[in-house]
């Protein structure tokens, strides 16, 4: 197993992936999120977003206070489709 530093478990995104994209000029958290698909897997960003925010702050010299957090979306935890339509007990 290689020594990867995993940022996002859902999509196997590494620290190096994040840094490379920032180096290519993408420094908006919303853009990073979509290009790396961080926060878009089943964990919905719970582990990765804070790490990406800190890498972004470090690499751009911005303070974390200045970087807006990507909006949390409904449902805030994964829910089975059958539960939402009300028929999970059949």
């Amino acid at each position: 197993m290689s020594g990867k530093k995993i940022v996002c478990r859902c999509n196997d995104v590494t620290v190096e992936d994040v840094e490379a994209l920032i180096d290519s000029g993408v420094t908006d958290i919303e853009e990073l999120k979509r290009l790396l698909r961080i926060g878009m897997g089943p964990c919905q960003g719970r582990t990765c977003i804070p790490i990406v925010l800190s890498i972004l702050a470090r690499k751009t010299g911005r303070r974390q206070e200045e970087i807006p957090l990507p909006r949390a979306r409904v449902p805030i935890r994964p829910v089975r489709v059958e539960v939402i339509v009300g028929g999970a007990d059949e």
Binding site: G41, Q44, P75
Partner: protein, 388 residues
Amino acid sequence: MSKIAVIGGGIIGVATAYELAKLGEDVILFEKNYFGSGSTFRCATGIRAQFTDEANIRLMKHSVERWEGLEEELGSDIVFRQTGYLFLATSEEEVEAFKANIRLQNKFGVPTRLIDMDEAREIVPILNTEPFLAGAWNPKDGKANPFKTLFAYLFRARELGVDARGHTEVIGFERAGDAITAVKFRSNGKVESVRVDAVLNAANAWAPLINEMAGLSRGLVPITAYKHQLVKTEPLEPGQVEPLVCPPSWNDAYIIQDGEDGGIICGAGIEHKARSLEDYEPTYDFLRGVLEYAVRIAPPLRYAHVVRQWAGFYAKTPDSNPAIGKLLENFYIAAGFSGHGFMMAPAVAQAMAELISKGRSRVPLDWEWYDPYRFERGELRSSAFQIG
């Protein structure tokens, strides 16, 4: 070389900036938020030529051809996949209507055909065949990744010298007679201005505000933002719902598997007028409503988990066709895409760039059909079918 300002960092604005730069123009591009933040990054990823009128069929046939070469042209993976669109009929009358559409589409070279439900099930292994009689199937339709596509255009545009500015808001124009002479903009609280030879309003839902800055009435091109929502499942293995599958009689409900992560995107025509241009609040009725349709289209979807619901705008004109053309001597518009901006972008961007740069275009775009002054004249087009 002229200085051209493009307003709006969505797919239309970014792609047009790229096309203009390709033609040798000096382009400055303004996006008031982050690139793609308006409608592009909120879209359902679909691309189709299955329209029901000549203008849209011809434009989209050309657009699909552009899509086919885009990955190579832009030099990066945009996850363009020709996995088709499958419309499903629930009544004999609908089957007849499908046949008429197919004849029209075939006439312009779009290879749609009517298929039975056995074939439909081969294409979509988890499809519920029972409620449907037949399908209209065009294997050339498809999907692409909106994030990667927009950035592929943006990176290439920048390489060609486009000055693309995110988080920079246009706040006014200087006008001399019928021409715009300068654009005023604000970034990080600082106001600047730039002299320009032409301006493209590609602000979609925000386009009426830009028109107003140019001294035109907001109602000249009446665009209203309607909230359209999507629900997406967790990533799944590809091959389960590759095409966009839509029974139009079920409130335009549809499902399509994301070409990149395999999550299934679910949409429907459950529409809400946006309370403001910041109103991206998802609604509860949509969440339940869309999934009620989705599980009837593909019952095994019941076991998938929903991971998010979001809203974006259909920037709608009264006839659901975009406004594309010239508004003033050097002020152009390509907006009001009513949900079709992403799929139309490669064709519209090329047409618009050629119009601005050369005064005419070889793209089969029916300028009259999309004429931005048609609303003022009261000449509405037949409503474009709004899916995906």
